[in-house]
Symmetry: C2
Subunit: 358 residues, 2 copies
DNA sequence: ACGGCCATAGCAAGCGCTTTCTATGCGTTA
DNA sequence: TAACGCATAGAAAGCGCTTGCTATGGCCGT
């Protein structure tokens, strides 16, 4: 059989209670006793029974991180950063010493049902915290359901953190959400389009992300803000194509854009990956970048600086934001005032944008 | 307080045992009773207590997936695929119906200690299965420690699956590992170098991954095999530079390669990301690709087809392998004969390689 | 030198679920 | 009609740990 607390207690000649206290370090234990216990733990190669511990303590050391697409570095970077603040680098020890927690990355694939399912699963595991990353799905029913789940989670003692997702705008306020780190998608998108406008572009196509997603909407709004301000509001609607956040979608959408407006001089993509697809489509149609058509992305993923030409994009401090979300989830950092912090988006001008052919 | 099984039982006017049986569906329950119970579950919005369930049943519904770098799509793709076979898309219900499991993605960052720590954490949680992805660290002490942990895990009933990692070569055979999906890194690398050789290249530089990693070693061996067969074995050693699996490393290593051999006509990179860095370095030094220098990668990540020029690389069916690993971990697929399956690597010739300037 | 207090350690009662074993009621078969 | 068996439901004993409360001993103050 596996070794239990009682076995360790027997070997160390103390009561199970004492062993538990040594392992948790939350109760005074004489140094000599502690020594004896730790030796016994080592000798027997004891490993704490997580479920039993969680049951008795009514809380587990699991922290859930929900991502829309784990294969997308956008999420991978945030998740990795968050996990770096959560996971247990040091002491592989037996007890759940210090803030040792186990980060769980859950891949929703952008599906509302799965998002809810994972939230339930996390609730079932009595997770200590939950971090939701990336844009939310904008469906009244779904939002309500998520908010309800989060409220329940928070109610059960879990700390809920939103990273790259706008705060829940719901009657009842926040629903127990500890903190929200909202990306300035709108401002970033606006500045990006302003940059293009300043270069002289007028026929600007926009390859948007999936509809009903906050990220999609905010970026699109930023774009529209800039276009409106330039008196080009009428161009936005006809030159916007929605797709998913992947390369194929950028490719297809760009072809469609070219069909609608062969004289296009710039394409703004929902994100860098989509921009890659857009570049491929443009090249295939014989347009050179940026001489014939300028292209811009969003996120500034690692590969964006290495494309040819290097991609003009909007940098989001994904790593920093993820790490902060991790700290917030661990209670290692105070929540921002009002529970909401805005994460800045910085325009990165590189080689893929230039003035249109005169 | 939170709703418990007993509450549901009371409302449905049955015993807790019956509720448990309805939820687990592993015992005959009259249809009418089941109905009543399910309605009560719904009415009360009951969520099973995972830890309690795991404690009583001596097994949890957690499946751990260890990855070296979650921000790297190489791992993200495998993890996502595995999770798609594991996670609970359907029924968000209360019980742990069907094979509903929760996939945990653990990011080791390539650190041996963290790998061990996570394995312990997973053991502590009484994980139902563990999937180790990507290359292993080649250190006798570490390998032994990992093998011991895996044996213990397997001993405790967990199914252990290796994906993209060679089988454990240890006395005591496999140590309870259910299955190993080994990538044909060596063969793929050999074919890649053969391709370059066939084009006429002789001064071929190699940007290897971190030392002491099986993936690094196997790919390097494949390269050497091809070079040896061409009577160019002597060129390998002096034109090989080690680094990590990231872009920066590819950049730095390539500069070093150029220093050692300015007449270099081809660079083979440890993976696609590294190849990107190599391209950047070459361009910066005024070499055009593939006219002056050919470049090749490995893995065929999604962005590889979109670089300019498109990257010649070796395709690894990451998604398929990850999905298979997931199925294996769930016991939904029979283990391959001998517990080991080789995953083929396919050469993808694209624009970044061409014959050297004559 | 004695009562009292602090520092430690042990006792024992659960935490909420699963599961074995037992009980009940009905349909069957002779 | 009586004995038997099957299908279904309940009782209760844990699973291994945490923690409030209690017990013990040594040291202090006076």
């Amino acid at each position: 059989m596996t070794v239990t607390l009682a076995d360790v207690a027997a070997r160390a000649q103390v009561s199970p209670a004492t062993v538990s206290r040594v392992l948790n370090g939350n109760y005074p234990v004489a140094a000599a006793t502690r020594e004896r216990v730790l030796r016994a733990v080592d000798d027997l190669d004891y490993v704490l029974n997580g479920p039993a511990s969680a049951l008795a303590a009514a809380t587990s050391d699991l922290v859930g991180i929900l991502v829309n697409d784990i294969a997308d570095p956008f999420f991978g970077i945030m998740a990795g950063a968050a996990q770096s603040q959560i996971g247990g680098p040091e002491g592989a020890g037996a007890g759940r010493a210090g803030g040792e927690k186990l980060a769980i990355v859950c891949n929703t694939g952008g599906s509302p049902e799965r998002e809810l399912t994972y939230l339930t699963l996390l609730q079932r595991q009595r997770a200590a915290a939950v971090i939701l990353t990336g844009g939310a799905i904008e469906d009244p029913g779904h939002s309500t359901a998520v908010a309800a789940k989060l409220a329940k989670l928070a109610d059960g003692g879990a700390r809920v953190v939103l990273c790259g997702r706008p705060p829940l705008e719901l009657p009842g306020g926040g629903g127990g959400v500890a903190a929200a780190l909202a990306f300035d998608n709108r401002g970033g998108a606006r500045r990006l389009t302003e940059h293009l406008l300043a270069l002289g572009h007028r026929r600007i196509g926009y390859v948007a992300g999936p509809v009903e997603r906050t990220t999609t909407r905010h970026r699109l709004e930023g774009h529209r803000d800039a276009m409106d301000a330039a008196g080009l509001g009428g161009v936005v609607e006809p030159l916007t194509v929605h797709g998913s956040y992947d390369r194929q979608s950028g490719y297809d959408a760009t072809l469609e854009l070219l069909r609608r407006e062969p004289e296009l001089t710039a394409v703004v993509a929902a994100n860098d990956t989509v921009a890659l697809g857009a570049c491929a489509a443009l090249r295939e149609r014989g347009r050179s970048i940026p001489d014939d058509v300028s292209v811009a992305g969003f996120d500034d993923l690692p590969f964006s600086a290495d494309t040819m030409p290097a991609l003009t994009t909007v940098r989001l401090p994904l790593y920093e934001a993820g790490a902060r979300a991790g700290r917030l989830a661990m209670g290692r950092e105070a929540a921002p005032p009002g529970g909401i912090a805005s994460v800045p988006a910085e325009l990165m001008v590189r080689g893929s944008t230039a003035g249109p052919r005169s």
